[in-house]
């Protein structure tokens, strides 16, 4: 039976303003995890009742560990940021479906925006062929060296121009005339929408990892839906980001919200 596990926090430190990196001894989770999946982390006590869904950044199956990079976005994630090494935390996972890696595609474009960047690291680790990683941030890039270490070409845009290209990640992609066989992407919805429209104009298939407010993370509450229409469907449907996603083909997502 699946269950919530109490696991040990091996490391939990700030890597950029409001951004933390947490490594967990997650035996039984690491072995099953795939890039693009997430875990539920639980706060202590019932005041903050609902789990926080956090994407998996790196998976180490040999050691049974996973790494999570999360932003302090509210009281729950702030509580997580104060956890010290050696303490335990409640966790459930891996949850959701990860990216659908297509090994026939040799020229991979990976696009991350801000706190949407972390799940792309494990993805890039597992991709075959060439990888161009385009990352957009407000001002503080994260994980750049980690992507470079994997042999990917990394291109960075910052909104305030503090690092490399000044502007958004799509402007950078257009400026560099990027081309490839497939795009994998995770980031804020306006970014995903803009890139998905561009990808459609270029005839490049694209997968997007979506985020939505969740209650359960296991497909029961029907809280975290997005509007989608599959190719063979006449009408659109509300699909669950946690259970049907979080990764969808971008041409199935209806971006009007």
């Amino acid at each position: 039976m699946k269950e919530i596990k109490h696991v040990t926090v091996l490391e939990n430190q700030m890597i950029a303003p409001y951004m933390y990196s947490m490594t967990l001894q997650a035996d039984g989770i690491a072995e099953l995890a795939k890039p693009g999946q997430f875990v539920n982390l639980y706060c202590k006590g019932e005041a903050r009742l609902l789990p926080r869904p956090i994407s998996i950044c790196e998976i180490n199956k040999e050691e049974g560990t996973i790494n999570l990079i999360y932003a302090v976005a509210g009281k729950g994630t702030e509580e997580f940021s104060h956890i010290e090494e050696g303490e335990t935390i409640e966790i459930l996972g891996p949850l959701g479906n990860g990216f659908m890696i297509d090994e026939s595609k040799r020229r991979n474009i990976v696009v991350g925006g801000g706190v949407g960047t972390p799940p792309l690291l494990e993805l890039v680790k597992q991709l075959k062929g060439e990888v161009d990683v385009y990352l957009g941030f407000r001002s503080y890039p994260i994980l750049v060296e980690e992507f470079e270490r994997l042999g990917a070409r990394v291109h960075i845009a910052t909104e305030d121009g503090s690092v490399d290209f000044k502007g958004n990640v799509l402007e950078l992609m257009k400026k560099e005339n990027v081309t490839g066989d497939i795009i994998y992407s995770c980031g804020p919805k306006p970014m995903l929408k803009a890139i998905s429209q561009w990808a459609a104009s270029q005839n490049i298939p694209m997968q997007v990892s979506l985020e939505e407010r969740m209650a359960c993370g296991i497909g029961v509450c029907v809280g975290c839906v997005c509007k989608t229409r599959k190719k063979d469907e006449e009408d659109w449907q509300h699909r669950k980001v946690c259970k049907d996603g979080p990764v969808f083909w971008s041409d199935e997502v209806i971006w009007d919200e």
Partner: protein, 304 residues
């Protein structure tokens, strides 16, 4: 006395549940997801997510907001419709030794009756008539907040249903006992309460409501005192069996509801935090009975 020979059986509308623990509609799907976490055979009944006569798409996102000790939802009864439900979910649930309670939703009396009629030929045990969802504009709570309409819809659904009918009451009324009495007059076989309280949360940074629907149903541990008070009042006012719910996450919580007069209890929002919450509640009830030498819950039901 040991845990195995405690008498936990309860009866609602002539249907015997092997124990008093079920789930609140909409917090358990049709049980499929939870079968990976618990043995569904251990539950007195599974109460499934609300079904309507045709598929409903529900409300736009965001539909969830966490609040202190609870949460808001504005899902709006998204469901694939009663026919899909009958085809896909009943055969699955029937593999388990547990009763099936089907929550039904509608926008008009005719829609409620249509669902009840379609379910009459289906292999289920009880119908839970949802006249209390705060998240649908027409129907839903409009029936649950007016005594005359509550009685009318109960009477009509009873006429169209082959199965016993439990009516789920809204707490968003001045006097819940007035609605409870009206529903009894309409011929209900049982009552369940409470549905969610109407609530709201605002994102002060974006300066707008968190929920796309502006308001939503408030649930979780924070609402337990309100739910308990209403179960207590209704149990004093009518003699039908009551499924008590609202913020139950432990055996102690459940015992409070039974002492207040509930026949059975439903675990709701706690399922989102702890997929094993129903089992914790069931074990907690058994431990309480052992501690106080209680052989049957009839000994303590409604004694407060």
């Amino acid at each position: 006395m040991n845990k195995e020979n405690l008498d936990l059986k309860v009866e609602i509308g002539g249907v015997v549940l092997k124990n008093p623990v079920t789930v609140a509609s909409g917090t358990f799907g049709s049980g499929r997801e939870f079968a990976e976490f618990i043995d569904l055979n251990q539950l007195g009944a599974v109460t499934v997510k609300g079904v309507s006569s045709v598929p409903w798409k529900g409300n736009p996102s965001p539909r969830i907001a966490e609040t202190y000790g609870g949460m808001l939802n504005s899902v709006g009864l998204q469901n694939p419709g009663v026919e899909e439900f009958i085809k896909n979910d009943i055969p699955f649930l029937r593999e388990f030794d547990t009763k099936i309670i089907v929550n039904i939703a509608g926008k008009t009396i005719e829609e409620y009756c249509d669902v009840a009629e379609k379910l009459s030929h289906a292999d289920i045990d009880l119908i839970e008539l949802n006249i209390s969802c705060p998240n649908v504009k027409e129907g839903g709570v409009a029936f649950g907040t007016d005594a005359k309409m509550a009685k009318e819809v109960t009477k009509e659904v009873k006429r169209h249903s082959k199965h016993p009918v439990i009516v789920k009451l809204s707490p968003n009324v001045t006097d819940i006992t007035e609605i409870a009495k009206a529903v009894v007059e309409g011929g209900a076989d049982g009552l369940s309460l409470i549905n969610t309280l109407l609530g709201m949360a605002i994102d002060i940074h974006k300066k707008r409501p968190i929920l796309a629907n502006t308001v939503g149903g408030f649930s979780g541990p924070a609402i337990k005192p309100v739910a308990l008070r209403m179960v207590y009042q209704v149990a004093k006012a009518v003699s039908l069996p009551i499924i008590g719910m609202g913020g139950i996450s432990t055996g102690e919580d459940a015992v409070e509801f039974i002492l207040a007069g509930a026949t059975a209890v439903a675990v709701g929002t706690a399922n989102f935090r702890n997929p094993r919450a129903t089992m914790d509640v069931l074990n907690g009830i058994k431990e309480y009975m052992m501690t106080y030498g209680i052989k049957s819950l009839d000994e303590i039901r409604g004694i407060v």
